[in-house]
Symmetry: C2
Subunit: 286 residues, 2 copies
């Protein structure tokens, strides 16, 4: 449970910590970043809530820390931001480094059931259980009763599915350019085939569009998708499938914004990060 | 004078353009970035002012575009941001790629007088004359009568010296962690020795601390230096020399802020970029 601090960086009045720990769920040392807003750095009896940001394919915890600009809004609101890594690293599984959209950097926030990924590629358990447990033990100034989740692309898939699979666990959810229907897009089919094998019932358990069909009540999710996003145009994201499934299931409260010309990059995340912080804050400080 | 557009990226309601042009002053194709705020993208009869951001050692125009977070404030205020490169590229001068603090990526915003850098390493002329001329010709929505300048580290040196050598050319100046007295620090001595040779009178013409001794009137410059900046601690920046010289010369208006714990990275620039946009806006919209 002990956490190693690799760097402490001043940012927007708070501290960005580069951390790592020996994770049992993934069987390796896992790096992650944690932004502590000023309110969590100063001595205070008031605990701060946490926003988990799940990154997309190929990313580490650093990409969004450097380019996503969540720190500014998080500093103003008094929200900590937790940036997990996107997969185990260095397990030396044959083939895990062969592609940028599968294996290393592409854990898809699922627990693999197929060999050779079974055993180590447990990013679902890691992000929903082990990492928060570790972080809340190490940082008592964080409030484990107030956690929201967001993410980008593969991480947007992660945010939506972790939220939908765990009612009540997260106060709110939002996503940037999420892979919204992985069972029907090339990225998702490759990942789920590789991590789960051919059993499609397992695939559906981690597909936001399938999951929202079972959702009861309102779902106040904020989703931004850029119309200039090549992966959107190629049918990797399919946010319309998610919207349609939600509408047909009578789920209300979705806010899907199609942002003219915006692409799949961190420039888009930076532009709208304040809106996603604001969205989370509504629920974290309700 | 023609400009090639390599990419157009939506950012904070405006467009970040990745551009290049065949530069005569450096004898090579030069890349640069230009952020057009919404006010300059929409059809408007109102021209927008320009803030030039000069990057530090090893950087291209991309680093600050991705991590510096100027676009947010520039979008709000209606200021274009021009990001030049830091040196000529690909001149094939023997030795120019041997070190990270000299040659490629380290032009120091001077016109070299020593062989083999003489002829191509003319970043002073490039940034003060050729690039603005090219940009204002290509983008008539920019107001060439309202230009401010800022920069980081080597680029902070560039901002201060270009401002001090050209009274009236720029409406305002600011800097992050500037190399403030290059003739007395290892980076500056290496660069000036390599670009100018041993004649120290030439060195002094490009040293902010020497130049400020001759300044008449007030100098409303904003400088941020992090106390956790290793290069500051190693004596590469020497902002105190600049402050002392200004004070002894009776120059008023300097605002040098020592920011506790902040380092030399883009996290620091991102944190304080809004303040530098605000500083420039005071003069650009005066």
């Amino acid at each position: 449970m002990s956490v190693t601090t690799k760097a402490t960086i001043a940012s927007f009045g708070g501290k960005l910590l580069k951390l790592s720990h020996a994770a049992t769920s993934t069987g390796c040392e896992m790096s992650f970043n944690l932004y502590l807003p000023p309110q969590a750095v100063q001595n205070s009896s008031q605990k701060v809530p946490v926003l988990i940001y799940l990154s997309g394919l190929t990313c580490t915890a650093d990409n969004c820390s450097e380019k996503g600009f969540f720190q500014q809004g998080a500093s103003k609101k008094g929200i900590a931001v937790l940036y997990p890594d996107t997969s185990p690293r260095g397990l030396d599984i044959p083939g895990e480094n062969d592609a940028w959209d599968f294996g290393t950097g592409a854990g898809f926030y699922v627990d693999a059931t197929k060999e050779p990924y079974k055993g180590g590629y447990n990013m679902y358990t890691y992000v929903t259980e082990e990492l928060p447990k570790t972080v809340f033990a190490a940082f008592p100034q964080l409030d484990e009763s107030r956690v929201s989740i967001t993410g980008h692309s593969m991480g947007g898939h992660g945010a939506l599915t972790l939220f939908l699979r765990n009612p009540g666990k997260y106060k709110s959810v939002s996503a940037f350019a999420p892979i919204s229907n992985p069972i029907n897009c090339p990225w998702g089919q490759k990942a789920f085939g590789g991590y789960f094998g051919e059993d499609q019932t397992k695939w559906k358990e981690h597909d936001a569009t399938e999951l929202v069909k079972q959702w009861k009540g309102s779902l106040p999710v904020l989703i931004d998708v850029g119309t200039g996003d090549n992966f959107y145009k190629q049918g990797q994201l399919l946010p319309e499938h998610f919207e349609k499934a939600a509408t047909e299931a009578g789920v209300e409260g979705l806010q899907v914004r199609y942002q003219a010309d915006y692409d799949h990059s961190y420039y888009t995340i930076a532009t709208f990060s304040d809106d996603h912080i604001e969205h989370a804050a509504q629920y974290l400080f309700a």
